[in-house]
């Protein structure tokens, strides 16, 4: 089982290295273990997270790609779809039926033809367009909905911290 997962992960790593999507770097922490990756995601331009560089880890199950990986930011984040411990909560990381947030039925779900690249691109769009309806961080969802200016300020601080400037 882990054999096909390993082959697939090696192919995906190669693909991401040869043809990296803009603002995303990702690969195994060390090449001895292809089931633990780290990623760096650049905050998308023209959004409140612009300029930030956010590190994250991606952990793959042994039956990948039949079931999805888990993803967690390793830096402080403040976002409606990221739990306070950094875990990312978007529909593509869940198989249908495994539905903690009651996603809309049209939301994109995990299936074996999805990929790490698709996940990372979804995370970039999640940063650009938070979904307050399926909030993993209730405080962030409320602030995004009711006090947008305050949310932008908080996001700016997160961006600074990600670059190593404390506040």
């Amino acid at each position: 089982m882990a054999g096909s997962a390993l082959r697939r992960l090696m192919a995906e790593y190669k693909q991401l290295t040869v043809n990296p999507p803009e603002g995303i770097v990702a690969g195994p922490v060390n090449e001895e273990n292809f089931f633990e990756w780290e990623a760096l995601i650049v905050g998308p331009e023209g959004t409140c997270f612009e300029g930030g560089v956010f590190p994250a880890e991606i952990i793959f199950p042994t039956d990948y790609p039949l079931t999805p990986p888990k993803m967690k930011f390793k830096c402080e984040m403040f976002h409606p779809n990221i739990y306070s411990d950094g875990r990312v909560c978007i529909s593509i990381l869940h198989a249908p039926g495994d539905d903690p947030m009651g996603y809309e039925s049209s939301a994109e779900r995990w299936s074996p033809v999805q990929s790490v690249e698709k996940i990372l691109l979804s995370v970039v769009s999640m940063l650009a367009e938070p979904n307050a309806e399926s909030g993993a961080n209730v405080d962030a969802s409320k602030m995004w909905r009711d006090e947008r200016e305050l949310f932008y300020k908080r996001a700016k601080e997160i961006v600074k911290k990600s670059l190593g400037y404390g506040s």
Partner: protein
């Protein structure tokens, strides 16, 4: 810590297992899953149908119906009940037939070669799609070069290979539903679109199959399947239905509520 210290059941669970109630439930689900995996291969050897009757010792309705099937279907091959059983049963039974039918194998190979382009045209990402297509073709080529039943069985019992075959059959099913969306849309209640149905009920692993999956896959491949229904219905004998309607069946599957196995006529 017990989740609810006032609840005596939670306390009892914690005292006897050292786990909270939720942890204990998850651990039990894992044990059951493990037991299913240990006792049931993904695809079994061909067994006399009497093994099925042994599962229903105390059940006169099922026992009678199974006895009536002995003459027409003396053998059964069981599949593991993991939500993929229709695809695995169909895949094995049909490929087993291809071992001895060169003309059909030739036709099938051409169909599969063409299917890749159909899938890409429908918008499936070719990079990940090819992973499954290549594995599927590898098995088709293996049948062509060395038509061995024991090797085919070994392939289907290898979790990694077997699941990849299931994924490709699921993709073929999804492609057929999307290509003929105008027709299949009539099967859905509510306002779920064909595309949504495919991404929720067809493409993901472990999702059980319904009639619509069977109609789509058999139509897409041009492979007739007879499904024999064994249930608690009033009829004395097990009913059957052919998919797609009117096509002579090449293989026979047994349906019991929630599960598919393979039946053999001789």
């Amino acid at each position: 810590m017990a989740e609810n210290p006032d609840n005596p059941i939670d306390e009892e669970i914690e005292r006897s297992t050292g786990m909270t109630r939720d942890e204990a439930i998850l651990a039990q689900q894992d044990r059951i899953q493990k037991e299913v995996e240990d006792t049931n291969p993904l695809v079994s050897e061909r067994l006399p149908l009497v093994v099925l009757k042994e599962e229903y010792q105390a059940d006169p309705v099922y026992s009678k119906k199974i006895e009536d099937m002995y003459a027409s279907f003396p053998y059964i091959r069981k599949t593991r009940g993991d939500g993929n059983c229709f695809f695995r049963a169909f895949g094995f039974a049909y490929m087993e037939k291809l071992l001895t039918d060169k003309a059909e194998l030739h036709r099938f190979k051409e169909t599969i070669e063409k299917s890749k382009d159909t899938l890409i045209a429908l918008g499936f990402p070719s990079f990940t799609l090819m992973d499954f297509y290549d594995t599927f073709m590898e098995v088709v080529n293996q049948i062509e070069e060395k038509p061995s039943l024991s090797e085919l069985l070994a392939t289907f019992c290898d979790q990694g290979m077997s699941d990849y075959l299931v994924v490709y059959l699921r993709l073929l099913t999804s492609a057929e539903l999307q290509k003929e969306a105008d027709f299949y849309q009539n099967f859905f209640e509510g306002n779920r679109t064909v595309k949504e149905f495919c991404s929720q009920e067809v493409e993901p692993m472990y999702k059980e199959s319904d009639h619509i999956h069977i109609i789509a896959l058999t139509s897409s491949l041009g492979v007739g399947v007879r499904v024999v229904y064994l249930d608690r219905g009033e009829n004395q004998r097990a009913n059957h239905h052919d998919f797609p309607e009117g096509m002579p069946p090449q293989i026979v599957l047994l349906y019991r509520p929630g599960h598919y196995d393979i039946l053999y006529g001789e």
